[in-house]
Structures are given as C-alpha cells and as structure tokens.
C-alpha cells in the first residue's frame, strides 16, 4: 500500500511542479542554472620532484572550497557549490598546457588556480590568456605578470621583490642587533625560481653597498654540497642566503653545521619554510631565518583549522593557493554571474578582504592592471622548534628575531 501511495505522491508532485514550471518557467530555469556548481580548475604538480609542494597547494584550495560550500556556497549564484577539478600538471610545461586545455574544454572550468612552479604556470597562462580565462597563481617569477597578460593574477610579491626583501629585512635585523653587514654569500639552484630570486637579492645587495663575497649557482638535484660549503668557509661572509628547494636546503644546513659554520642563514622560502625542514634537521633548524610571501601566524584563527584537518601548519603555498580560491569566491559574489570575462573584470581593482584573503600581509588582496597583488609584502620568518614565527618587518612581527653573529 505504501508503495502505491508513494508513487501517487510522486506523480502528483511531478504534476504540480510541472504546472508551476509552466507558470514560472523563466524564473525557475534561471535559478536552476545559477545553482549549478561552479567548476574551478586546480592544476598542480602532483607527481614528480615538486609533488610535495603541489599536494600542499591542493590541500589549501580544498580547505577553502569545503569552507565555502559548508557555509552555503556562492550566495549571489543561488548557493552554487564550488566544484574543484584537480589535475596533475606533472613536471612538464607541455603536459601542464594540455591539462589546462582539457579543463577549459572538457570540464568547462570558470577559472584556474595553479601551478606552483613558475614554468608550469607560464605554460598554462599561454592557454588561459588565449581563451580569456582567469588564472590565479602564487608562483613568484617576475615573468608571470611582466608580459602584459590580461587574465593572470599573482597573489604574492614577485621573485625580485622577495629577493630584495630577503636582503633588506636581514639588514634591518642585523642593525637592530648592532651589526653592520658588509660581506654576504649567495648560493642558489639554477632553476627559474633560484635565478630570479637571487637576481633581486644581488641587486639589493649592490644598492645597499654590501659586498657579495660568494655568488654561486649550483645544478638542481646536487648530490654533494661539500664543494659549496668549502667555498663558503673560505669566503668569510657574515651571513649566507641560500635559495633552494628542500633536499638541498637540508644538505646545506647539515654540511654547514658539520664544518662549524654558524653564521646567520636566511633561506629563500620554498625548502626553508615547510615542516619537513624542521623535522629533518631537528635542533639544527633552530633560529634559521627565511623570507616568505606570507605566514600562517599572521592569522592563526584562519589557518589553525587547516592544521587540525591536515596535521601540519598551513604552509605558505597552501595558504596562498587557498587565498586564490577565496578571492575568486568573493569576486563571484560581486558579479553574481558565472561568466569568465565578468569574473576577470571583477578581480581587477576590487579590494578582497573576506575569508582567507585576510590572512595575507596587508589583510587583503588587490590586483593592479598587470594582475599583481599590490598589497602583498614579504615577511621574514624564523624557526622556533617546529613553528615558524614572523620576525620582520616590525609592524607584522610576532616576536623578536634572534640574531646570532
């Protein structure tokens, strides 16, 4: 009996909605379309040498997407949910470009977030620019927003600015501790990231009248850093600025400690600001400084839920990629339609200050005409146990820097 009732109920309901549909057809159709999920492409290196960073980045985006969906989706689109289309860019720009093409054509994504490594991001941007699709990234390279593209948005400061801040903030810390830095050493891996950031560092040193007594590039995937450290020992520098991914960073610090070189070490983000650094080095990590485009301790209330969910602090690539999605969501609330060109126009000029965007330096995100976030300001962080503490610039510092000369 119950079955019959249910069937009758169902058909009656169908009849009712059918009639209502006829009457209110334009309205119903519009709201049904608007409540369709919004697809956002997430292209990251999920395999290969940068897999760890790609996975961190994906976690950051996932974290924000789940928060937005749990809070009722995009309200201006009738509560549309954010649907992430995650794809592996591998480590090849050729693959990254095909993946981007696929997400646009097959998955009809509205915007894309990616792809950690600058070379992958640039390859993707060549596709998104031709299809007028907004691409948001936290890749550092100056090239990203330096080519006059209209559909690219860089939420962090550029590599040259990071390199400059790496030196300038260090000078301030040394000065506060009563030391005037005169001789520094730079060592960097010969990747896009290493060369462009060390370029900023070198220029800043020249401007500040600091002598660069060692300036050495080394091949990616170096198996033995001893020659580097031997050179460093002979260089008589007062501080060393290594710019590298993780494997090299651990080798460099261990070899320095083994040769009893304990001059201040100021890393260039990437390998120096992820939990594996402190986990791998233990006490040898204590007090190591690094530049970073953002840090989780500037907004603990926003980043702590990430640590509870994933078991490690919200590393900067997770944070910044999360911010990318947060910014997209806010722009969608503003335009009220799921249209890529309207979205692009909404991204430019507006000041984004809801959600995770508040965790960025400056408390907000605002893109200029080239797509660069003008509010982002690099910070200096220092390892204290297994935590990273912001120590400079002064107005953002959470603790006093420890400067050992």
């Amino acid at each position: 009996m119950q079955q019959v009732h249910a069937a009758a109920g169902a058909s009656r309901r169908r009849l009712l909605t059918g009639t209502a549909g006829l009457v209110a057809a334009p309205f119903v159709i519009r709201s049904a379309r608007a409540a369709e999920a919004v697809s956002i492409g997430v292209v990251m290196p999920l395999s290969g040498a940068n897999a760890q960073f790609g996975i961190n980045a994906r976690n950051g985006v996932q974290f924000v997407a789940d928060q937005i969906n749990a809070a009722g989706g995009i309200k201006a689109l009738g509560g549309a949910k954010i649907e992430l289309v995650v794809a592996d860019a591998t480590s090849s720009p050729t693959n990254a470009a095909s993946v981007a093409q696929r997400l646009i054509t097959q998955n009809r994504v509205l915007a894309m977030i990616g792809a950690f490594a600058s070379s992958l991001t640039i390859a993707i941007s060549e596709i998104t620019e031709r299809r007028n699709l907004p691409l948001l990234t936290m890749s550092f390279s100056d090239e990203i927003t330096g080519r006059g593209f209209k559909n690219i948005f860089q939420v962090v400061a550029k590599a040259s600015v990071l390199g400059k801040a790496q030196l300038d903030l260090t000078m301030q810390l040394a000065q506060a501790a009563g030391q005037k830095l005169e001789r520094i050493a730079i060592m960097y891996e010969d990747t896009a990231y290493g060369t462009s950031q060390s370029g900023g560092l070198r220029a800043a040193a020249k401007a500040a009248g600091v002598e660069v007594v060692m300036d050495e590039a080394y091949p990616l995937g170096i198996t033995d850093v001893t020659p580097l450290i031997n050179k460093l020992r002979g260089a008589n520098a007062q501080a060393v600025f290594p710019v590298s991914y993780l494997n090299d960073s651990l080798q460099i610090i261990r070899a320095m400690r083994a040769q009893q070189i304990d001059i201040p070490t100021i890393g260039g983000a990437a390998g120096y600001v992820i939990p594996d650094f402190a986990r791998g080095l233990g006490p040898a990590a204590e007090g190591v400084l690094s530049i970073s485009p953002a840090n989780y301790d500037l907004a603990p209330e926003l980043t702590e839920p990430f640590r509870q969910r994933f078991g490690y602090f919200m590393v900067h690539e997770a944070l910044e990629n999360g911010v990318c999605l947060s910014v997209v969501a806010e722009a969608l609330e503003k335009t009220g339609k799921a249209d890529r060109e309207a979205l692009r126009d909404a991204l430019r000029g507006h000041r984004f200050e809801t959600g995770l965007a508040k965790a960025m330096t400056g408390g907000a995100v605002q893109f200029d005409a080239t797509g660069l976030n003008t509010l982002s300001e690099p910070v200096m962080v220092q390892w204290r146990g297994d935590q990273l503490v912001t120590v400079a610039p002064g107005h953002l510092a959470r603790a006093q820097a420890v400067w050992k000369r």
């Binding site: 395999s47 290969g48 040498a49 897999a51 760890q52 790609g54 996975i55 010969d190 050495e216 590039a217 080394y218 091949p219 995937g221 170096i222 198996t223 033995d224 001893t226 020659p227 580097l228 031997n230 050179k231 002979g234 993780l246 494997n247 651990l250 080798q251 261990r254 070899a255 400690r257 083994a258 040769q259 009893q260 992820i274 594996d276 986990r279 791998g280 080095l281 233990g282 040898a284």
Partner: protein, 287 residues
C-alpha cells in the same frame, strides 16, 4: 693547496659511495647485457627501507643498509623472475624501454605508498666532523665511505671466492659453457639482478644520514652512475671502483676551477670523450 687537499679528500670519500651504488649497474650489464636505466630508483627504495627501519625499529641507517640490501635483493630477484627474464633475448631497445617504464612505475608506486614528504633520519653523528689539522672530515661521509669499503670487500669475496660468485662470472663469460657445467643460468641471472639492485639500495641507505629521501631522489644519481660505469668500462666491477673514485674527485676538484653550476658539464664531456676514445673504459680490458 689546502683547498685542493680538502677537495681530493672529499672526492675520495664521496667517490667510494658512488662506486658501490654503480657496481650494481655494471654487474647487471656484465652478466645479462642489460643496461638498467631504473637502477637509481632501487637506490631510492633502499633509502626508504632504511628510513622505515630507523623510524619504526630504531635501527641506525648504517646498519639498516644491510636490511635495505636484503629487501631490495628479494625485489630484484622477483623482478628478474617475472619481467626481465622475458627480454633477455629481445633487442636492446626493448630492454631499455622496459627499464624506462620501470622508472615511472617505481617512482609513482613510492609516491602512492609512502607519500611525497621529504623524509630524513636524525642520528647523533649527522652534523659531526673530525679535524685533521686544517682539513675537515664529515663524519656521515666518512661512515658512508667506510661502509662502502666493507661492502666492496664482501662483494669481492663473494664474486672471487664463493661458488655462486664463480658460477655467476662463468655465466657472464660464456652462458653455454656454464650451462654445460651444470650451472642454472636463469638462477644466476636472478642472483645477479638481485645483487645488482641490492648494492644500489645498500649505498642509498649508507648516504641517508646526510641526504633526504623522497620518491624522485633517484634521478639525481642516474647520471652519476652512468658516468661511473662508462669511465670504468661497462661490465667491469673493478672499473666501477676506479670510476666511482674518479667521478667523486673530478666532481669535487673541478669546482675549484669552474663554477659549481658546470659540475655536470665537466662530467658529461668526460663521459663522451671516454666513450669516443676508449669505449672499453679507462680500465680497458681488466675485467
């Protein structure tokens, strides 16, 4: 002068490790005629075995290296029995591409099973060093070097003195004659492949104290291993020892003259020159 002495010392120590990790590559080629492009991925697996042994059993990686050898030996034995057996008579292109496929499979299996984290061990001697006058000796490097010497000695004993070793060398020299003497060639191949990849795994564990393990760490060593065996002569164990030390010293000393960025360029040019002028290796014919 001092920096030259330091560079030579560093080069010899690291070269000893290069020798051990490359011996397996040359052994497999010598016995079966297969160039295993995936050799360095077994080094990565060995590092993982040693890391897990350290993390969950509290075994120091220097001892864990024997465990890594055992585990990867078994894996190599199984792979020979299933995969490589089928391409022994195939053209070299098929052999090479089997090993290329294996690189992709091993790296991504490691990514799936162990994750992408960068894992390192913590040992008391990790950042220790000895001083010989003005010279520094890095203790983890020294430990890895001494362990490599022990391993090389054991291998020499095995190949030269044990029945298995002699049977394996006989198979390498003349498979038909060896078979007539009652040697099971297929078994010798399994033994050689297991031993070959096991040696690289052993070397990987020995260097774990100053390195970090993650799924793609092997690729950093591929080029080095090939340079070592080409310098020493493909198939020559003694050549691998000479080649390993030569590569270590060249790598280290070249940085006194050239930028470190060009470290690999120096090696590659040497590699091509040796192949062009003395394809049998610097040790030529002393197999």
């Amino acid at each position: 002068m001092l920096s030259l002495a330091q560079a030579v010392l560093d080069g010899v120590m690291i070269g000893g490790v290069y020798a051990v990790i490359s011996m397996g590559l040359t052994l497999v080629f010598g016995v079966m005629g297969i160039v295993n492009f995936a050799q360095a991925q077994f080094l990565m697996l060995g590092m993982f075995v040693a890391w897990f042994a350290w993390r969950f059993l509290g075994i120091d990686p220097l001892l864990g290296s024997f465990l890594a050898f055992g585990a990867i030996f078994a894996l190599g034995w199984a792979l020979q029995a299933t995969l490589f057996r089928r391409v022994l008579a195939a053209p070299p292109v098929a052999q090479i591409f089997l090993t290329v496929g294996l690189i992709i499979v091993l790296e991504n299996s490691a990514l799936l099973l162990f994750g992408s984290e960068f894992r390192s061990v913590a040992t008391p001697y990790q950042t220790a060093s000895l001083r010989l006058g003005e010279l520094f000796v890095n203790v983890p490097y020294l430990a890895a070097f001494l362990l490599s010497v022990v391993c090389g000695g054991l291998l020499w004993w095995f190949l030269d003195r044990s029945w298995f070793g002699r049977a394996m060398r006989a198979t390498a020299q003349d498979p038909m004659a060896a078979r007539l003497m009652g040697i099971d060639a297929a078994r010798m191949h399994r033994l050689a492949f297991g031993l070959g990849v096991g040696l690289s795994a052993f070397g990987g564990a020995a260097i774990l104290p100053y390195l970090t393990v993650y799924p793609t760490v092997g690729s950093q060593f591929s080029v080095l291993m090939f340079t070592v065996v080409v310098l020493g002569g493909l198939g020559s164990i003694a050549g691998a020892v000479v080649g390993g030390v030569a590569v270590g010293v060249i790598q280290s000393v070249s940085t006194l003259v050239f930028p470190i960025q060009l470290q690999n360029l120096v090696l590659f040019l040497l590699f091509i020159a040796v192949l062009a002028l003395r394809p049998e290796g610097l040790m030529g014919g002393s197999r």
